[in-house]
Symmetry: C2
Subunit: 336 residues, 2 copies
């Protein structure tokens, strides 16, 4: 496992520190921040091949240890911890109900396991909700109290903020739009533990496999097995077959966003995730919506903090936990 450490030493230590973690399919990233939310140190390690929750808890323990060593701070300086999990998460009881097909967790009392490991007040949440919180605190939706963060990576999910609070739904599954049924998706949703309809079409893996079929049909001179980002870059550089492909991805994304807009009537959508944050996708999706001449058109913008969104959201969630455990009133309402 690779560990990267950095230390931002020009910030003086304050009343303590918080830790935020993002558990991804390829990396687990951790950040240590002071009580103003400024990140003072980072740590990351590969999660490739690592699926069991015990191993993830142990890896988080290593990360905390690594951050304390790198910064020379004591365990006693830590005030709270928060983690974003790639799955449906019962925030109230601290239970991960189900993770994506890669990890396969079911009803894991993850918060309790972390509390036992770390001895800190802890919050856990779905990673897309964490990313939405990051965009709200320091990103493209700063101070916008009602918006939808759409994450497109391997999978697709939405983090919804209503009245400045994460909206998670009665069964903690709000925003699971990767399964949405649209004109070109399967007519019937797939099993909920499998990739869903929309993400089969424009999720990272869906794009990759559809590109191969598309380039053959178009006799495109571009290579097979391109990633979504590579295709977007070829389109940006002027390749017409790549551009036509991107326009189709944007059409499907516009349909999905439009359907969410019909339900929630949120005027702002922030695009993020490895696939979703490409500027060309944002521009082409806005172009589709503009062409539709809607009575009210939602605005689509790019994430301004990219892959940092989940991690910074976790930091802010941890700050909120720390403040709830302190005397001062909480800065963020982070309850359902």
């Amino acid at each position: 496992m690779q560990q990267i450490m950095e230390q931002n030493s020009h910030h003086a230590p304050e009343a303590g520190y918080v830790l935020g973690v993002d558990i991804g399919g390829t990396n687990l990233r951790a950040a240590m921040a002071n009580m103003s939310g400024t990140v003072v140190a980072r740590w990351s390690a590969s999660t490739v091949g690592l699926r069991g929750h015990e191993a993830v808890v142990d890896l988080i323990g290593d990360g905390v240890e690594g951050l304390l060593q790198a910064t020379g701070r004591s365990r006693e300086s830590l005030r709270a911890f928060a983690a974003g999990v790639p799955g449906v998460t019962d925030v109230e009881n601290g239970v991960v109900i189900a993770t994506s097909y890669l990890m396969g967790w079911k009803n894991i009392p993850f918060r309790a396991l972390l509390e036992k490991k770390l001895g800190l007040p802890i919050a856990i949440d779905n990673d897309v909700n964490m990313a939405a919180l990051g965009e709200y605190c320091v990103g493209a939706a700063k101070d916008v109290h009602d918006f939808v963060f759409v994450a497109i990576g391997t999978g697709i999910g939405a983090g919804i903020l209503l009245n400045g609070r994460p909206f998670r739904g009665q069964l903690w599954g709000a925003g699971e739009i990767g399964y949405m049924i649209l004109p070109e998706t399967a007519l019937v949703p797939s099993d909920s533990y499998e990739p869903g309809s929309l993400e089969q079409l424009i999720g990272g893996e869906g794009i990759r496999s559809r590109w191969n079929a598309y380039r053959e049909a178009q006799a495109s001179e571009l290579p097979a097995d391109l990633s979504a980002t590579e295709i977007f870059d070829f389109a940006n550089a002027g390749n017409l077959s790549a551009l036509e492909f991107v326009k189709h991805v944007a059409l499907v994304l516009a349909q999905a966003i439009y359907n969410v807009f019909l339900v929630l009537n949120c005027p702002l959508f922030v695009l993020g995730g490895g696939v979703g944050q490409h500027p060309l996708l944002c521009a082409e999706t806005n172009a589709v919506l503009t062409k539709w001449k809607l009575r009210t058109q939602p605005k689509i913008v790019n994430s301004s903090i990219g892959a940092e969104a989940q991690l910074l959201g976790s930091v802010y969630a941890a700050l909120d936990v720390a403040k709830q455990n302190a005397v001062s009133p909480p800065h963020l309402q982070f309850v359902e």
Copy 2:
């Protein structure tokens, strides 16, 4: 205009009365209720051919007069008034932003016009939101704090309750699912003042015109120009071509409900409206969802108060206004 009056005289007069009104495409219905919400008198008149807001305000004035005469109560006994409007309504400013294609209102300060006419504290809201409130107060979603009311009549709309409060969206257009894009709808949404994609498919008019094409293709022995309810009744009576048609309507409705469920994660959907309240549609839609073997399946139930939903919702909204204007704390939170 036809006026129907009835009086329920076994309820003693209390501290006063409230008035609720539902403005429909064919009828305007009014109800007078005591402060416990018990309806003591009703009034209705045709709205066929009546589109302008001035005429509707005048008709409401006639209704109030009619109800006072029928009950022998004085104007001074009236505490508040509420009306459900078939359109996007800014509840805060009392402005009807846009009504359906039939009426064509745009930015009408309807609450102010009614206040001037009636001299009462007044609330206005979208009629589907009013119906959702009715289902919440006395209907199929009684005391269920998170649910979606789906109205299928000529048009299709959803009234959303979250945490026991109507959720209307930033631009007052939440739940406008009649425009939803699905596998068999148009790929591109129609102009927002025109019937939308989903309602073209399974709204009352959409069903009527699709039935004609379907019965020809199937060489069905059933007549042309059947209404949705007539088709549902033929299916209920055992006609196989009608049943197959209903199963298709249920499939499309299940897809729409599933997409809303993905966003909101509300476990309960209540079906209402002239087309939507047919028990066979509810049963067939539940059957589709069950067949999909979802990890969590939303429950679909029929409205238990049918066409009363909008009217009773308006009565409860008026009661809330009356209570906000009285010393006692409001029973219902009816603000955004």
